[in-house]
Amino acid sequence: MSDLLAARTQMALSLGFHIIFAEIGIAMPLLMVLAEWRWHRTGDETYLRLAKRWAKGSAVLFAVGAVSGTVLSFELGLLWPRFMKFAGPIIGIPFSLEGFAFFTEAIFLGVYLYGWNKISARAHMTAGVIVALSGAASAVFVVMVNAWMNTPTGVTVVGGEITELDPIAGMFNPSTFQQVLHMLIAAYAATALAVAGLHAAILRKKGDMVFHRRAMMLALAVGVPAAILQPISGDISARVVARWQPIKLASLEGHFETQAGAPLRIGGIPDADAGVTRYALEIPKGLSLLAFHDPNAVVIGLKKFSREYWPPLLPVHLAFQLMVGLGTMMALVSLWVAITYFRKRDIVLDRKLLLAIAIVTPFGFIATEAGWTVTEVGRQPWVVVGLVKTADAVTPMTGLVYPMALFTLLYIGLSAIVVVVMHSIIGEAT
């Protein structure tokens, strides 16, 4: 394995590991605060037990998220020092804001988790709200950095050196709005539907129990709207990518020839050498319609670009299909839940619906990993599009396969332990 590939693998692994805990860190505080708020409103002690049970699970997941995030802040430099030297002065500003958001989150998380008996009910709720808001703010700032890597603005580069820079303009680049929106909704949809799914599985197995009924309904109240909104946010994303990163759009669609009225391909295997995508179900004019809201719009194909600038086509195309497929199923199950609810039917008594909710439990997290693959692998060969190539950013240190192997073992071990620990915490509740 080459050093470059080892560095990319380690980075992908670290991000892929952290992103799950980051999503949970954004969404769980909202669920905890909602449960606590319901307890104050209704006086139903079940909601208090629920808030505390969720807080207990979250404490473990937060800690793993905090330490894996620390690893990333160092790894950006340890693996990609040339990228950080180049980009530090511009992406450092959103990163430092993220630092303060994370600080606020960590402080009030401590207050929230350990302050139940030490502060007033109002202060405790406020601490929870601050955790929920600062968690979301952290995500906004971090995703700003990623958006800048896709569509860098605010820099003038002459001969590989930045001659003029405007970090604020860099923060509000063309991809910022859609990426932040898509990531935040993803966090709420993935986490809340996963929580709902776990409780739905218990309800199916053990019958109607007040605790799990309240838990599932509360999680659905967050997850269902998020999952229904996500396809709309995805549409906004696709149109921004179509306009600013046509090569990424072409690679995630497996679209080789520039044409008007381009078809949408579902499934299929892109063949870079032959320049075609085989075995796909083609919907005429579908891609033009989705990417530009015009069935006859011209969509630029991969062949318009020199092949050295093509991202790896197969993983990007498949990851994109996977993300869209899972997101669609989450939205459909959510619609089913919403319709059942508004017809005033009891979701808990609908065993088929419970099964559907239980099945989508992991979908959001898998879709997140797939979506992250689309945006990260789809950006290759660049680390900052048009400015810095990934291969030029890697550290000159050799033997990178060893730290890669070390972190692989570490994260596999941690994942296994987290599963065991969460299983025991969830098991306690029944």
């Binding site: 793993v64 802040s73 530090g88 511009i90 502060i119 970090p167």
Partner: protein, 360 residues
């Protein structure tokens, strides 16, 4: 000293704030790692009570304390990207080991608090937690020693010039007697600090006595290791030695460091824990600033100074505003957190859980 004040500009202010963040990390996060050291060394009939107090004082605050380290890293790569690049390239190995320590310490701590149901599992996670608590301060001290010795700068220059032998570029700069001694110094300083804090916050007099004795013993070890580092620095880090011994501010700084050390010991002997806590914190602070001032104006001696390695002015101004506003928001929040948990508490549910375990 006069030269220093005359040349103070935005880059120096940002560098100073970075050291303030590092200082805050040493006094809070550093002491948390020191707590892990005492978990490892817990002994005697009240071994479990010691571990329990360490865990309870850590639980609500360690994640917040830990963020100081992230602030240091972010300010460095934002404000001083050239210096950051050299450090992360040459010190890849010790920094990676430090990160492994960070990950294992944090996760083992929560697994022990929340996940472990049996005594055996608790002991196993406790073991991981305490060993990881040794690794991180040690490797942090090693990186600082390597930086101070000038070896990082020299190796970074060699790497930039062309292919260099792996050992020479990525191992030799930090695997030496001096960096290892500074690694030990960081370790014993944090352990000393933690023992003083634990004595101050102890729940009963017996525990207080135990931590007081450990604080006194570690104060002695700190003295020995600090002297060893100073002696070694004459050969390994002449710039440090020259700064620490020869410059105009050296003597006053040594005097105040010495006074702080003596006050800490006297206060511990007289069981004045509030005074001991402040004096110990000042002692650590003075040692840290002694190192920083001795390598001024370099961030990476002798290749990258605060001035010539700094980011453009636009970045530094925004960073300064961000740090100022952030600090205004953070200070009251941190104050609230520390006041709230000035006396250790058991995490919610944990007491009940323990109670249940004892019954079964």
């Amino acid at each position: 000293m006069n030269g220093l004040f005359e040349s103070l500009g935005l880059p120096e202010v940002i560098a100073g704030l970075m050291v303030v963040a590092l200082n805050a990390y040493a006094l809070t996060g550093g002491a948390d790692f020191g707590g892990g050291v005492w978990d490892l060394l817990a002994s005697g009939p009240r071994r479990d009570a010691q571990r329990e107090q360490i865990a309870e004082s850590l639980a609500p605050i360690w994640e917040a304390n830990h963020v100081w380290l992230i602030v240091v890293v972010v300010v460095m790569f934002t404000g001083f990207p050239a210096a950051f690049e050299q450090i992360v390239i040459v010190l890849h190995i010790p920094l990676t080991l430090m990160l492994v320590g960070v990950v294992l310490r944090g996760s083992a701590f929560v697994f022990r608090s929340y996940g472990a149901r049996t005594t055996v599992a608790r002991a196993r996670w406790g073991g991981v937690f305490s060993v990881a608590s040794v690794v991180t301060p040690f490797t942090l001290g090693v990186t600082i020693g390597a930086l101070a010795s000038g070896e990082v700068g020299a190796a970074a220059r060699a790497v930039e010039a062309g292919p260099v032998a792996f050992r020479q570029a990525f191992v030799a700069p930090w695997l030496g007697l001096f960096p290892i001694t500074t690694g030990l110094l960081a370790l014993v300083l944090f352990a000393f600090l933690a023992a003083v804090y634990l004595a101050y916050g102890a729940k009963d007099d017996e525990l207080r006595e135990i931590f007081r004795r450990r604080a006194l013993a570690s104060a002695g070890v700190v003295l020995l290791v600090a002297l060893a580092a100073l002696v070694l620095s004459y050969r390994a880090a002449p710039r440090i030695a020259q700064g620490v011994v020869g410059s105009s501010w050296a003597l006053p700084l040594h005097v105040v460091t010495g006074i702080a050390a003596v006050i800490a010991i006297v206060a511990l002997v007289k069981r004045r824990y509030g005074a001991a806590r402040i004096a110990a914190a000042l002692q650590v602070t003075f040692i840290l600033w002694g190192w920083v001032l001795s390598q001024y104006p370099f961030i990476v001696p002798e290749t990258s100074t605060i001035r010539d390695g700094a980011a453009p002015r636009e970045t530094l101004s925004l960073l300064f505003i961000g740090l100022a506003v952030g600090t205004l928001l953070l200070a009251p929040s941190l104050r609230y957190l520390f006041r709230l948990f000035a006396t250790p508490v058991a995490p919610e549910g944990n007491r009940a859980q323990r109670h249940r375990r004892e019954q079964s």
